[in-house]
């Protein structure tokens, strides 16, 4: 390329806006996630009713003015329940992913940097875990540990660790061959600084992107676990268990009890998937000028 420097920041906002306009789908997805997360966090203020407030007179009402998404058999407002349940879902999705990322990356970096026997040992362990279908593994762990929010988080995290581990190990393999890793050594950096200041920050972006996709998976796993009766169970409400409960009512015609919790799951997972690519762009310190 010609020897021209690209001026930063002065038009940064305009650039961001331009790219937002091109990636409007991701922008919508991101907004959806943010709105849901905020609503879930402020559930007490946002939800129109108490999630456990029963109202026998209003039982099994279809979506209407008073209850936007209808009510269940106890007269509890479905919208409020979905908002409150969202806290558990999103918290576990983020939490499990974050935990898996932290553990997977730490071990993966060690494997990538030290190679040799250490790498061999770690990777064979990873291979054994990955030999199990992830969901079966999650089921087994939850069944063993018992049904609770914490255990579900641990189970999902454990099944995800191998992915991050392999990813970051691969990235470290790639980066350590790059010249700035060499330059870091020549300048006199000790091994730990090379790892944390030079290699890790550059290895993370693709991992972060993977993490957004994995959050969708975590959500789905959690919902699936509750659906089949493992993990989070009533009275603790969660989108998956709500969908399971709602399934019973399809035959009797109360479609909203099944549809809306299920839709919540679908929209969230879809949103996570859609922001993945654009997130990579946003995380990259380079601003691409040409599209």
């Amino acid at each position: 390329m010609a020897d021209i420097a690209i001026a930063p920041t002065s038009t940064a906002l305009r650039l961001v806006w331009r790219r937002l306009r091109r990636n409007w789908v991701s922008a919508v997805a991101l907004s959806l996630i943010v709105v849901t997360a905020v609503a879930a966090a402020l559930a007490g203020w946002v939800a129109p009713y108490e999630p456990d407030a029963t109202d026998a007179a209003a039982a099994l009402q279809a979506p209407a003015l008073h209850h936007w998404l209808g009510t269940d058999i106890y007269g509890r407002d479905l919208l409020s329940r979905i908002i409150h349940a969202g806290r558990v879902d999103l918290a576990v999705a983020f939490g499990a992913t974050a935990l898996a990322l932290a553990i997977g990356c730490s071990i993966g970096v060690v494997a990538g940097l030290y190679r040799g026997l250490v790498d061999l040992a770690i990777m064979r362990c990873v291979d054994s875990i990955m030999a199990f279908p992830a969901f079966i593994l999650a089921m087994a762990i939850t069944a063993a540990l018992g049904n609770s929010v914490g255990n579900v988080l641990i189970a999902i995290a454990l099944t995800q660790i191998p992915n991050y581990l392999r990813l970051i190990r691969g990235e470290i393999f790639r980066i350590r061959e790059l010249e700035y890793a060499d330059a870091a050594r020549v300048v006199g950096n000790p091994a730990w600084r090379i790892m944390f200041v030079h290699l890790l920050p550059n290895a993370l972006p693709p991992i972060i992107v993977q993490a957004t996709l994995a959050m969708g998976y975590a959500l789905l796993t959690m919902a699936a676990l509750s659906f089949i009766g493992l993990g989070i169970q009533p009275p603790q409400s969660e989108w998956g268990s709500m969908t399971a409960e709602g399934a019973q009512y399809i035959v009797t015609g109360e479609w909203w009890l099944f549809l809306f919790p299920g839709l919540a799951i679908v929209l969230m997972v879809l949103s996570f998937n859609l922001i993945g690519d654009s997130l990579r762009d946003f995380l990259d310190p380079r601003m691409r000028g040409v599209r």
Binding site: A2, D3, I4
Partner: protein, 326 residues
């Protein structure tokens, strides 16, 4: 001498987030029959973009913004994709600076070359294979039958480039565009590739447009040369004339900035830096770096005028006599 390729006033524009970039601005030159024309310039000068434009391979966000590209009487700028596909590979061929990546790693080298014969000449497999081995021998690959059965990764850089040349010349094109064919090759390998190009050009009668940033390559291999700066063609001349009497201020500065291996030299860097092509001003793009610049230079783009037989320069200072003769 007849012109095989006539590039007239070609412009290539790119739409970027920052604005419009005129990567090539009104470039004009011709490649004559049987000659090797050098297109020389630094990176950002637009020489590779020009090559891509000639092949009509410019894709979004770039576009051919004007001019004509006449090859054998037909204006390539006016043809549609179907007709262009018939021309690419048969009448015009191109080799680039990364030969190994241009070769298919999954099939043998022999198969790759043979495919060209089955595709363009419609030859049956056995015949195509025979011709392929002939081509490999012609480009100087030792033991061609054995090598034809090998894969790209088993060839050295220089060998890969020879294979590329073989593939390019397979259909006997009238014009071969060589885009920095020796960058990235060792000195001695590069010398041999250039010798090969010269020899094959003479033997097949193909004209060669040799794109390079190396003035040494130009001096040893080309008959005529066109100098580009920031997307504009600033000087076109026979090689001897260019080196003995460089006219354009940029050419003069360029010649003075390269160290020599055959004698002790003084290096003077080209003053200033390549201007940004973003929303470039009208007028001569060397204006910001030129010691003989005038107001007029910034407003008007100078036309090519002759300063000696066959030696053309686009510069007001040279026209007006402000720049001393060399």
């Amino acid at each position: 001498m007849t012109a095989v390729l006539e590039v007239r006033d070609v412009s290539v524009r790119f739409a970027t987030d920052f604005g419009e970039v005129d990567a090539v601005d009104g470039a004009s030159f011709e490649v004559r029959e049987g000659e090797i024309l050098g297109l020389v310039g630094e990176s950002g000068s637009g020489k590779s973009v020009t090559a891509t434009a000639i092949l009509r391979l410019i894709r979004k966000p770039g576009r051919l913004a004007g001019g004509s590209i006449v090859l054998g009487g037909r204006d390539l700028a006016r043809l549609d994709e179907e007709e262009l596909q018939k021309i690419r590979g048969t009448e015009i061929a191109m080799i680039s600076q990364t030969p190994r990546t241009a070769l298919n790693p999954l099939i043998t080298v022999g198969q790759q070359v043979a495919r060209l014969f089955t595709l363009h000449a419609g030859l049956p497999r056995a015949e195509a294979r025979r011709r392929a081995i002939e081509m490999l021998a012609m480009v100087g690959i030792p033991e061609p039958e054995r090598r034809a059965r090998q894969y790209a990764h088993q060839f050295s850089g220089g060998m890969c480039q020879r294979v590329m040349i073989a593939m390019a010349l397979a259909a006997s094109p009238r014009l071969l565009i060589a885009d920095e064919p020796t960058t990235g090759l060792d000195v001695s390998t590069a010398a041999r590739i250039l010798d090969l190009l010269r020899e094959l050009g003479a033997r097949t009668g193909a004209s060669i447009l040799l794109i390079t940033h190396d003035l040494g390559v130009v001096a040893t291999t080309c008959q005529r040369v066109a100098v580009m700066h920031a997307g504009q063609v600033v000087e076109v001349a026979p090689v001897r004339s260019l080196f003995r009497h460089p006219a354009h201020p940029y050419t003069r500065a360029l010649v003075r900035s390269i160290p020599r291996v055959d004698r002790a030299s003084v290096m003077e860097p080209v003053p200033g830096s390549v201007p940004s092509l973003l929303n470039a001003p009208a007028g001569c793009r060397y204006a910001g770096r030129c010691p003989w610049v005038e107001d007029r230079c910034r407003r008007e783009k100078p036309a090519m005028t002759a300063v000696a037989p066959e030696h053309f320069v686009a510069c007001f200072a040279v026209e007006d006599g402000r720049a001393p003769a060399v």
